[in-house]
Symmetry: C2
Subunit: 386 residues, 2 copies
């Protein structure tokens, strides 16, 4: 750990590096065998000798493997940088943190924009329809590859939380604890509807061309609109009112439908930025996986979890209307009915769904103490493996 | 009234006819003089000798002058048919009802798709930016033309409610009562944001061509997405769950991003239907007028209303998250501070914003008794004119 600490400055991780793991094939839920599959991933901290301190962090719709630290020569820290590092919620002095870009993504993992080895061209819509369980099965291969038999925890918010639930359902013997944050057992029709409108917006863009846009202009306008819709749902009425009010922008170009209000300028900015870093087809595949996910598809969750020794911490946020607290309470209820040791906290935030990225202090506190309890319970009893 | 009653069957209005009123010019809020202006309108019931029973109904974003009855040879009743007719909330045996399509609209009134007499071509973006006050000033010309000095009431929901507030602020001497429903003094950034994303979606459509699409294909895909976003905001999480759940559609075409869920099929259907009857540029102009509206732009509402004898009924709906009850309460508060006689009711509905079109029974009851009280107070005191 001494070497690791050298690159740490002011509690930050410093320079981190992306890695990649490739395996031959994955059997998808659909029955199809798909491969090869590459997963981009990053790790922070050091895996202990007992291999008992590994935590998998799962990212949300637009996230990637770069959860913390900075890449050499770049400024932007990872998407959960404030939570990961020495002394932070995910204390890299103590734990070994893993984050991988999801299957179907566009940030280093195999997805619709990857080259199909059979054709030498991007998969586009020849990429198979994938599920959250497929995403998690691919992650399991990575965890096996890293030689980790049992994860200390799997933690994620939003779509990351769906992955946490998939781990709980499919690999209960491979984890000691799970932290699903601002998530749901299955999408409501309202959640499906917002995703569907985003997909429609992408497919309405004349540059989309049934997904075959990789040798020309991308459907950036449609994708930007999809992202703007997303951003509205990630904030709350109150947080928007506090951030923007009805403040007007400085007079722009002499055009009738310019961005008059600051909130309009903000949305356009976020939309335009997003299209530089995200693939439209990935957006289609990943949102569809989210919509199709149902942790109770085969059996009620309380039945599946019965007899599990996994400890669960469920977190929701008061002003989150995209993944409302009642959905988190459904998870808690199923865990309690299964007699799984479960803690629930609804954090009193005005940030809306974005809160899982922004409520650093209270969320860190909850996670930090939960992880400590799970880790030291393990250390004391000395139990090992599955 | 006997002749009117002949066409009434089972409490319905029967066949109604659209009319048109054209005037030379309107001075817009911007200072610009714009004309000629045509307003399409319909009337139901008979104006009494005293001209004291006239009620103006103002429509929402996608509404039109056809509020009740059916057009000859067509099946579809007006958008508020269940509220307007003999014995209904707006009792046509008692009152004379007027509804006009807004300035800037595309259903018979002058709007961006109308022919610019100077060029012989549709205005497109040469149509001036209009405001809710401009829309109301145009309506005032129609009301003057009909020889009505004082309206018994002005009633409308959503954007219709914004028009009601504009009447209250600009023509308090021309009305006896006002019923703003599910509306707001001014749009919040969240409301602006949803409209803005709809506009972005239209303008992102390659067929939009800066508004000059009237001689070719219209930006129907962009407009359909805008409408789908709208529909999500018009319903509630609960009403969507009750209506659709996670029910799947029958297997459709073999395409990965087909409408799997019923809610997706519903949105696509509503989007596709809308583009057949609505002009994309009108959508831009009207939503911009909604966003820019601020009843308190010049002075606080309680100052403006001070000393007014207008009676006000404010209605909101519990599950309406697009125009939440707190916005209606702001109207009530301003009215009360101005010592205006005000009644407020929050109807316990799960329909979301759509409730103002759907909660027929309770809403009718409130409106019916409110109008009776205002009308008979007038009849008894015999007061007249301004």
């Amino acid at each position: 750990m001494i070497k690791e600490k050298k690159i740490i400055q002011n509690g930050h991780l410093g320079i981190v590096q992306e890695q990649a793991f490739t395996f031959d094939a994955l059997k998808l839920e659909s029955g199809e065998k798909f491969g090869p599959v590459t997963l981009a991933y990053e790790t922070y901290g050091v895996l202990n000798k007992e291999r008992s301190n590994a935590i998998l962090i799962t990212h949300a719709l637009s996230g990637d493997a770069h959860a913390a630290g900075v890449h050499a020569g770049q400024d932007n820290p990872g998407w959960w940088d404030e939570f990961i590092g020495p002394g932070k919620a995910f204390d890299t002095d103590r734990y070994f943190i893993i984050c991988s870009n999801v299957l179907g993504g566009c940030k280093g993992s195999t997805g619709p924009s990857s080259i199909n080895p059979k054709t030498g061209k991007p998969y586009a819509l020849d990429f198979p329809l994938i599920t959250i369980n497929d995403i998690v099965n691919a992650q399991k291969n990575l965890i096996d590859h890293l030689g980790i038999e049992k994860l200390l925890s799997v933690v994620g918010g939003s779509m990351g939380g769906q992955q946490v639930l998939s781990w709980l359902v499919n690999y209960p013997g491979s984890l000691r604890s799970a932290v699903p944050i601002a998530t749901t057992i299955k999408h409501s029709p309202q959640q499906i509807a917002f995703n569907e409108v985003g997909r429609q917006s992408i497919m309405a863009d004349s540059h989309w061309k049934s997904g075959n846009y990789y040798d020309g202009a991308a459907p950036t306008k449609g994708l930007a609109v999809a992202r703007m819709i997303g951003h509205i749902t990630y904030m709350s009425d109150k947080s928007m009112a506090e951030k923007f009010g009805r403040a007007k922008k400085d007079a722009g170009e002499p055009f009738k439908f310019t961005a008059d209000f600051e909130v309009e300028g903000y949305l356009r900015y976020r939309g335009d930025n997003f299209v530089k870093r995200f693939d439209a087809n990935s957006y289609l595949y990943i949102t569809k996986a989210m919509d199709n996910f149902d942790a109770t598809a085969k059996r009620p969750l309380q039945e599946i979890l019965q007899g599990s020794s996994v400890k669960v911490l469920v977190i929701s946020f008061k002003s989150d209307w995209l993944y409302p607290a009642y959905q988190s309470k459904e998870i808690v209820k199923a865990c309690k009915l299964a007699e799984v040791e479960t803690t629930y906290c609804e954090i009193d935030s005005t940030y809306g769904h974005d809160a899982f990225l922004l409520e650093v202090q209270e969320e860190s506190h909850l996670i930090k103490h939960f992880l400590k309890k799970v880790f030291y319970a393990y250390e004391v009893t000395g139990e090992y493996g599955a």
